[in-house]
Amino acid sequence: MSDYLLDIRDLKLAFKNYAGLVEVLHGISLNIRRGEKVALVGESGSGKSVTARIILGLLQELSSARISGSVHFEGQDLEALALRTRLALRGTKISMIFQDPTSSLNPVYTIGVQFNEVLKRGNPGILERDAGTRAVSLLQDVSIPEPERVLASYPFQLSGGMNQRVMIAMALANEPSLLIADEPGTALDVTVQAQTLHLMRDLVERRGTSVLFISHNLGVVREFADRVYVIYKGRLVEHGETSELFHRPRHPYTRALMAAVPRITGGGIPEIAENSSGFTEPLIDHEVSP
């Protein structure tokens, strides 16, 4: 039906609580082509992370979540897929990288054990020894100097940057076609974050993996993404190719977001309006070259 790897149409999400329904996403539509790196940018609470979790089907398990709209992955409607089939996609065709690498790895198992389980997801019949060899080569891909030592370690024995590399290697281990990166490395310091992002970009470009990159950090997005969606309070407000959007931001919210980045040359923390009527203006869609 479409040549998009991921095609989200009019996605709405509401949570039911005692007061009634609270709508969090008001109908967002976005798509990702094969091999494309797309960013979803917005402030915290704008609905970025829940979008990622809906794609993986994690939110659907919450009894309080009300979801409508459609998510197509590789041409298949994810809602129409049986739970079992959808579960089978996770960790194999779609994988995810989380914000804080150290607390996203289980503290009571070694990296090797956890890596093994991930590899078994992709290939249940894999032999223990083959899994070990494969883990070592995957860790070498993310420039980890002593893979054997890292595999024998527990997450708390490694640095945040090292754990981030491990998580990237795990996420790419089963050659997924879509990688969702939810604020990757936000918990790390900026130099380490930059290193691991470079590494991740090289790896996904080499493998042709599509990426949904979720971030609030415009600088990072500009370096990383081909295309950008800006989200504000559960609505997409601007969409375009990265260079176009950064050169000619047209939506008031996007402009405010860009002005909000503190300059290294000084000038203090920028003044940003808490709320502006302009922020809720409808979506501005830049021309995208086919």
């Binding site: 993986l56 994690l58 009894s63 579960l87 089978a88 996609l89 996770r90 960790g91 194999t92 994988s95 995810m96 989380f98 914000q99 804080d100 607390s103 996203s104 790895l105 289980n106 503290p107 009571v108 198992y109 070694t110 389980e117 991930v118 997801r121 527990y154 708390f156 024995q157």
Partner: protein, 343 residues
């Protein structure tokens, strides 16, 4: 030295210090409470000379530190003195009564872990659903009544109104008790190859052990549940879910082990506390155990027996704690590796 051995040595030496402290304390307390042990033992008809003779024999006329010195001297020879209640060496009494209590407590401990932890896991996994609510009500009931109340209720329900289990005792009267080898009836009957006697012993121990375990089951279920619920909010659980591992696997493998670390200490303490709680359960079910013996000797102010019983119970408590510490070190790599790192 391997880290586990170092941990063991450290805990053992602390335990010995604790035991010395306990012995001094109980030695003093038993002697300062009013009442003359020699008079109680000999009865109202004994002459003053007889009482004085016994007091002399028990060194009761010496200052208390001298008495403690005698106690330590005898203790180092493995002698805890003669019980005035049974007129036998205290060590013999303990050897006779301790296995029955340990057997009861161990079976209750198995019930506590075998029922409590799985119930807690299920409760956390089906959080907010009917299964969770049912389990929470049951575990609250278990925690809120002391074990002797459960002993009476269970006896009424399942031995009297609905005679599924025997009312009291360790083994059916019609069966011959096998030769005493370990003192543990469940083991001895098996060693003797006497299957009917073994089954009868199992049949007899279920109700008292369950009564003793019920509050522990409730406690273990509640602790496991709350720790699991907390663990379920950790990022590594979401990561496991994002890799599509089945819910059962996430519960039993990814969430359970980190959650067990804080529960285990309390479960260990509960286990040891059952030694004390066993007394009323033993009384209700006419169980020939050490707790019952302990109460008798306290009522008779039988000094040697009091000190001996308390020491044995404290030692068991400490041993259980050491085992729990080792288990935690095994499960929690942070502790295991920290022990290794020390000079």
């Amino acid at each position: 030295m391997s880290p586990v051995v170092r941990l063991l040595v450290k805990r053992l030496s602390i335990s010995i210090i604790v035991l010395i402290g306990v012995s001094m304390l109980i030695f003093t307390i038993a002697r300062v409470i009013p009442g003359d042990p020699a008079r109680i033992a000999l009865g109202p008809n004994a002459t003053v000379e007889q009482v004085d003779q016994l007091r002399e024999k028990l060194h009761l006329n010496e200052p208390i530190w001298v008495q403690y010195g005698y106690f330590i001297r005898d203790f180092s020879r493995g002698d805890l003195g003669i019980s005035l209640y049974t007129n036998r060496p205290v060590t013999t009494d303990i050897a006779q009564f301790l296995p029955a209590t340990l057997e009861l407590v161990i079976v209750a401990g198995v019930f506590m872990i075998g029922f409590g932890i799985p119930l807690g896991i299920a409760s956390a996994r089906y959080r907010g659903k009917t299964a969770d609510n049912v389990i929470r009500v049951i575990s609250l009931l278990g925690v809120s009544a002391p074990s002797f109340v459960w002993a009476v209720i269970l006896m009424l329900l399942f031995a009297f109104f609905l005679p599924l289990f025997p009312i009291a005792g360790q083994i059916s009267d019609t069966l011959t008790v096998p030769p005493r080898i370990t003192g543990f009836l469940l083991v001895d009957t098996l060693l003797a190859g006497d299957i009917p006697a073994f089954l009868s012993a199992v049949h007899h121990i279920i109700l008292p052990a369950f009564a003793l375990a019920l509050s522990g089951i409730g406690q273990a279920a509640r602790l496991t549940r709350s720790n699991m619920v907390e663990t379920y909010d950790k990022p590594y659980i979401e990561m496991a879910q994002s890799y599509g591992f089945p819910a059962r696997r996430i519960a039993n493998r990814y969430a359970f082990r980190p959650s067990l670390i804080p529960s285990l200490t309390i479960i260990g303490l509960d286990f040891a506390a059952m030694l004390g709680n066993a007394f009323l359960v033993e009384a209700v079910y006419a169980w020939p155990g050490l707790s019952r013996y302990g109460v008798q000797v306290i009522l008779r102010k039988d000094l040697n027996a009091i000190v001996g019983t308390v020491l044995v119970i404290s030692a068991t408590f400490l041993i259980v704690n050491i085992i729990v510490d080792l288990l935690i070190a095994y499960i929690n790599p942070r502790i295991r590796l920290a022990e290794r790192g020390r000079p």
